[in-house]
Symmetry: C2
Subunit: 449 residues, 2 copies
């Protein structure tokens, strides 16, 4: 008998690699944070002497979901600015409230809330893009979740840094250097969008990204307005400008990519650029609907992101999987595109590939980190059960998540956080709500006087 | 002090009438199944001597949600035929499985499952369209939920009836006459679609609907293929044909209405026809995306439907509200259309109007039936809380439903069914799963031999 830390025995296991496979009566053995075996349950019981056995009949075990794009701390602005178009949403509501409230304390509290919410919804890894990335990294590491922490790069002064150069220097010192060897935290540069970074800023960014060998993520081709503004100010479409600046390569993660023409699809595919598709945010801000089936056919790797809670308004990858699959069908006028298996792949391996983590997470394979999510299918909304994969994507919801492990650590058990005091997190959120809401009411009164 | 059965004290109350109102610290008094008062909590405590007090701080009370279109019994086929286009979905999967399995027993069990699922998700009323409508009516009445039971009208023989005339006669006897005076059950005729009923069938249907003063609901302009087929066989678009047959009037409920041109929008608006918008089903079957903002501007009353669980795959009006609001914005390229208040209105008053029940349900107003849903907003995904209406639509999910009342009866309490044995319902569902799955496997084996 071999020793192992944990043996999980789910009703079904969907490893994602190989594609579309649904294993019945299989076990996953975990040791030292990694998956050491995927094998028939009967054999597993004869082979392993586990520290603990997690029996989950009627549940399906999947790779931990990967949120390829969010602004975690913005959970504190959830519902603060709804039913507004992107430009007004940003300029009239989000930027002013950020200017007033963003601080290390706010980022810590907002990120904690976001991580708790994501864990309870089966998300084990997120790619973040927000001010005070050193606080995001610290918070994620303390809560033992996986994160790619993006250092925002913006020309103008923000509550965190004074210029693009300042952003890059701080990101390098505070995030990259400190977490270079960390098992859970990786870092990247995250220029906000083409209109907030100068050519010189991008040039500097490229050199540093190359030196440090880190990835770059940027909001790109999110709206027609963004493309039109770029054409007007530079004569180039945003992707064209990035390309001219030498940034279009396999380290690039295009966030949104709603509007791409055929040549641009080919270009991204050839350069092995990934897209972080954020379907619900794109709908809510009326940015458009990305023709995902065409991107898939074109060979682009697609990952899924929730975007921030101020434009979604939940950090729920079950919602994104469903929305991505359903929207793709309607836009392609073909109900067979983006089937359940592909939607799940986008939320797992697609995300891992987009974040440069495909060797370590994204599927249930021997040798990878044990980032796992177990979903209870014995609910009214997912019964009867003819096909666990289909039911997982089209019927189940994040409320059915029962267990979550990150690098083998059991962070959610019986749908409750094991290592975080939910009341303490929510008390901090309430305090921020009180501050932000009262200040907003005050300002409204001032304006009325 | 006045007597009343129940006094509900939610943190917030959104009555829907008047529009967009959010009441803080208000109470709703219920007596004899009806809402007898909506008033400030403090006054309520001084005025009423209730049989029971339901204290729900941090929760929002809304009108019970109305599912304007479903095929309840089809929950037993949930996930049985995914990732297929409408025509193949119907002809290769759904119709054969229906031919084999539909029976009074199957409709009773499937409808029970659907009602349990809908109640737990805050839905208090549904409009159904399926075989054995007498069983649907009996089941809904026994479970004390509100239902408009549609008698299917189809020319060809089905497991339930032999012809359109047979359908009409049975619907009249078994459903309409029996439930004519029932407080919860109403009835209507539900021709499946224009291609399954002859002109003679429609003529007979019109006479009987007029005589009985019942409404008519029909799948109409769901897909471009349906419109093309109608043009080919009759030279008329489906709506044109119905119009020529005298069926386009305020008793008509157009189910889907995905593809309507400007003249058709005007026609429906002028005739005060309602639409049952089923956005998730339309996406999943790749039928298209209805331009709802144009319908709203055109003055058409919009209700929301889940359609059956075989094409959605959950009976969740929170999902439909969110999807309706988000999709409308993207299609109109305007993030301000279908704001939260309108999405909630579609799922409540819009539904009540579509089903001819607007005088009795759809809003929290004195004199209406106490069909109510209470939603717990103290969840990670709906905090912080700046605007309960926005949070309800854009962030909350059906899993946050805490209480449901229909005509004053407390059917869901602490997110659990009070009058239905959940295990007994799910055991029946499992039995159907076993039968249907084994027969399918058998047939597959036969084909392979």
């Amino acid at each position: 008998m071999q020793q192992c830390d944990t043996l999980i025995l789910p009703g079904w296991c969907i490893p994602v690699e190989p594609d579309s496979q649904v294993l019945t009566d299989h076990a996953v053995a975990i040791d030292d944070g990694r998956i050491v075996d995927v094998l028939p349950a009967r054999t597993a019981r004869q082979t392993y002497k586990p520290g603990s056995v997690i029996d989950r009949p009627g549940h399906v075990l999947i790779p931990g979901l990967i949120n390829a794009h969010t602004h975690a701390a913005m959970t504190l602005f959830r519902g603060f600015a709804d039913d507004l178009p992107l430009e007004r949403w940003l300029r009239e509501r989000i930027w002013p409230v950020e200017k007033r409230w963003v601080s290390a304390e706010m980022v810590r509290d907002g990120t904690r809330h976001a991580i708790a919410e994501m864990l309870l919804g089966g998300t084990t890894c997120f790619s973040d893009q927000y001010f005070f990335p050193e606080i995001v990294a610290e918070t994620a590491a303390a809560m033992h979740v996986r994160a790619m922490v993006g250092t925002p790069v913006i020309n103008f002064p923000t509550p965190w840094a004074n210029s693009a150069s300042d952003c890059l220097a701080r990101g390098t010192d505070l995030v990259h250097d400190r977490y270079a060897e960390h098992a859970l935290i990786s870092s990247c540069f995250a220029p906000h969008s083409v209109d907030t970074v100068s050519d010189a800023g991008f040039a500097e960014l490229r050199i540093m990204a190359d030196q440090l060998d880190v990835r770059v993520q940027i909001h790109l081709h999110e709206s027609q307005a963004e493309i039109a503004a770029s054409l007007k100010s530079t004569g180039l479409r945003p992707l064209e400008r990035l390309s001219a600046l030498g940034l279009v390569n396999s380290s690039l993660l295009v966030v949104h990519g709603v509007h791409l023409d055929a040549a641009e699809i080919s270009q991204l595919s050839a350069a092995r650029v990934s897209i972080a598709h954020c379907p619900r945010s794109n709908l809510k801000l009326a940015s458009g609907i990305a023709p995902i089936a065409r991107y898939v056919t074109g060979g682009i790797n697609i990952s899924l992101g929730t975007d921030g809670a101020a434009s979604n308004n939940a950090l729920d990858l079950f919602d994104e999987m469903k929305t991505a699959a359903l929207l793709a069908k309607a836009i392609a006028q073909d109900a067979t595109v983006v089937p359940a298996a592909l939607a799940l792949r986008m939320a797992t391996m697609g995300g891992a590939t987009a974040l440069g983590l495909a060797d370590n997470v994204g599927s249930i394979e021997k040798g990878k980190w044990a980032d796992l999510t177990c979903v209870d299918l014995q609910h009214f909304r997912s019964l009867p059960l003819y096909d666990p994969l289909s039911q997982l994507v089209y019927a189940a919801g994040s409320q059915q998540v029962c267990d979550v492990w990150v690098a083998g650590r059991h962070l959610v058990e019986n749908a409750e956080l094991t290592q975080v005091d939910r009341n303490e997190v929510l008390a901090r959120t309430s305090e921020w709500q009180r501050r932000i809401a009262s200040r907003t009411a005050e300002k409204r009164n001032e304006q009325q006087r």
